[in-house]
């Protein structure tokens, strides 16, 4: 048993570490499904809706999502239009005050949240897709394919992603949030691939996988139907971590001034605030809300993850 321990621990530990900002308890090694998938889903949902961390985190994230979706629709001004008095503190008319140029901070804020969610969902989604595909294939195939993919993973892993993106963005120049998210996704998958490869590795020699192989199923089908469902909880949590990571990444790029040129983002708001010396002028309403929103969204995502861990891993449930 002790021999197995490091192996079993490795995937979770690596995942937890790779996202050290995000580390949650390592999910236990996947065990073959005992109950039918639907019943398991129902059970997970049952516990998820009774877990305060999941519900709380989800509420905050959804509240921000709704704000980002609805608020820009209620105003007939663009986020960068000069609508009010300059540098006005928060008031009934301008909920979060105005910038030194008289732009409505709340309007920018709502638009920024919108791009934040796009970056998170798309960037996190692409990273999850790439990481999972590479992890599954490498772990299931083994041999030379594994060697090659592992090498690729390790190279991208040590390559400092932000530096690469700075280089790419400054040359190519990007205009839309979508482009930005694609780039972010393409450079933040390696730890996922590593963790999933290790878990697939430990699953592929189990009897039920052998059985599927004997019955002549194609590799892709085996991965999809036999292996992936056994780590579905892990996959969900991975996506949540990637979501948070992509949000932070996008904010960093926007803050440097390499974000999309066409839209407003929370990172760009902070950039503008610093650039036009909001700190010295004491316009706190300009730079506090954007950072606070990012922290709240990412923090709630992490909180959800801790809660989901308790849901999926009965050992951790506080009952």
């Amino acid at each position: 048993m002790t021999d197995l321990d490091p192996d079993v621990r490795a995937p979770g530990a690596i995942a937890a570490e790779a996202t050290a900002p995000a580390s949650t308890t390592a999910p236990a090694a996947p065990s073959p499904a005992a109950a039918s998938p639907r019943r398991r889903m129902g059970e997970a949902l049952y516990f998820a809706l009774r877990n305060r961390k999941v519900v709380g985190g989800l509420t905050v994230v959804l509240a921000f999502a709704v704000l980002g979706l609805v608020a820009p629709l209620l105003s007939d001004h663009g986020p960068n239009e000069y609508v009010g008095p300059a540098a006005a503190p928060p008031s009934g008319e301008y909920w979060l005050g105005t910038t030194t140029f008289g732009q409505d901070v709340f309007l920018q804020f709502a638009h920024g949240i919108r791009s934040t969610f796009v970056a998170g969902v798309l960037g996190g989604g692409i990273a999850a897709l790439v990481g999972m595909s590479i992890g599954f294939v490498a772990g299931y195939r083994g041999g030379l394919v594994d060697e090659a993919l592992n090498m690729l993973t390790n190279v991208v892993l040590v390559l400092p992603a932000l530096a690469v993106l700075i280089l790419l963005h400054s040359y190519i120049g990007i205009d839309t949030v979508v482009e930005q998210s694609v780039f972010i996704g393409l450079f933040s998958w390696p730890w996922v691939a590593r963790a999933i490869r290790a878990q697939t590795f430990s699953l592929r020699s189990r009897e039920f996988v052998d059985l599927a192989r004997l019955s002549g199923l194609r590799s892709s089908t085996i991965i999809r139907r036999e292996i992936a469902p056994n780590m579905s909880s892990y996959l969900v949590m991975t996506f949540i971590l990637l979501f948070g990571g992509a949000v932070l990444f996008a904010a960093t790029l926007d803050f440097i001034g390499l974000g999309p040129t066409e839209s407003v983002s929370l990172g760009l708001m902070m950039n503008n605030a610093v650039h036009w010396s909001a700190l010295h002028l004491g316009l706190w309403w300009w730079f506090v809300p954007p950072g606070l929103a990012i922290t709240a969204i990412v923090g709630s995502l992490y909180l959800m993850n801790v809660g989901l861990d308790e849901v999926f891993n009965p050992k951790l449930r506080e009952m």
Binding site: T24, L167, T252, H280, F287
Partner: protein
């Protein structure tokens, strides 16, 4: 052990190779004649810069020659330490400009990384055994790791720097001072260093504390821990074993986090106008100083690779399995 290092060295060499190739390739993604385009784009402000730039481009790109030869030329110039001339800081060489900035970045990063790692591990391990500490440290840790680096930097700069007036928030030292090993300069250096350091430290600290706390709890559930306890071993002993086992993933985590930490340092420097690589990148981007961007990129990659290598050496020293060429070595 040789296998372990051989593998790691191969990965690092390959990464360096990829980085240089990217650096060489990306200017080619641009449509049209890259030389002409860059000349018109970046040297408007400084006519003196045109000649050396054209000279460098001709040597490195040599667009009339076959692709493989252009690529080879790039490597040759690289090994001569020639990364081109900075346009925004003409006539300074890119290598010199970067070497001037590197000490500031390292001076921020190294203490922040080491101290946050140490303190995070300690507090995390403590939190795993005390309920009250766990209840305060854990939410705080999650809050800190969810904070964007630049926002914490902005908040600290605003609250401690401007409102409280305790620390200066611009530059690496007072503008009326010349760099020298004198007391006024060193104290000015330290007071400018403190806020960027603090914000880097705090964000990183949260991540390590959570990681360590979770690892310890995980270790205490492991079979060897229950076995030791059932043998009647004192709790302290069990904890110590758990701590040592939990250290290893934290160490690999350090290697994996390097990129994020460097990114954090870059934006923190931008907030405080700290004269390291971050501010350099910012000016380079604003002035479209492409040589400087590319040079900084290479330096960051080399730095991260070196740091990874150091972590590998430490891992070998700490983890006996890598020495005997067992499990740990395959990672």
């Amino acid at each position: 052990m040789r296998r372990y290092f051989g593998r790691k060295a191969l990965i690092y060499l390959l990464t360096f190779f990829v980085a240089v190739t990217l650096n060489w390739m990306i200017p080619r993604f641009m449509v049209g004649d890259p030389v002409l385009r860059m000349l018109t784009r970046s040297s408007v402000s400084n006519p003196d810069a045109v000649a050396p730039m054209r000279d460098y481009y001709e040597r490195v790109f040599g667009l009339d020659r076959p692709i493989w030869q252009q690529y080879l030329n790039y490597w040759v110039e690289l090994f001569k330490g020639n990364l081109g001339v900075s346009v925004s800081l003409f006539p300074a060489k890119v290598t010199d400009v970067i070497l001037d900035a590197v000490p500031y970045t390292l001076g921020l990063l190294i203490p922040a990384i080491l101290l946050s790692w140490y303190a995070g591990n300690k507090i995390g391990a403590l939190a795993a055994r005390r309920k009250w500490l766990d209840n305060t440290a854990l939410p705080l840790g999650y809050l800190l790791t969810a904070t964007p680096y630049m926002w914490l930097a902005i908040l600290l700069g605003w609250s401690l720097g401007i409102v409280a007036g305790l620390f200066p928030i611009a530059g690496g030292y007072d503008f009326d001072l010349q760099p020298a090993w004198s007391w006024p300069f060193v104290s000015s250096l330290l007071s400018h260093w403190f806020l960027p350091f603090l914000s880097l430290f705090l964000v990183a600290f949260g991540g390590w504390a959570i990681g360590m706390r979770n690892m310890i709890i995980y270790e205490l559930e492991a079979d060897y821990a229950s076995y030791l306890e059932s043998l009647g071993a004192p709790r302290r002993l069990v904890r110590r074993y758990a701590f040592r086992n939990a250290m290893l993933p934290q160490l690999t985590g350090l290697a994996l986090q390097l990129g994020v930490l460097v990114a954090g340092a870059l934006v923190t420097e931008m907030v405080f106008g700290y004269p390291g690589l971050g501010r350099l990148i910012l000016t380079a981007i604003q002035n479209q100083d492409y040589f400087l961007i590319q040079g900084t990129f290479l330096f960051i990659v080399i730095g991260v690779l070196l740091a990874n290598f150091i972590v590998d050496i430490v891992t070998v020293l700490v983890d006996p399995r890598t020495r005997t060429g067992m499990q740990g070595g395959t990672a």
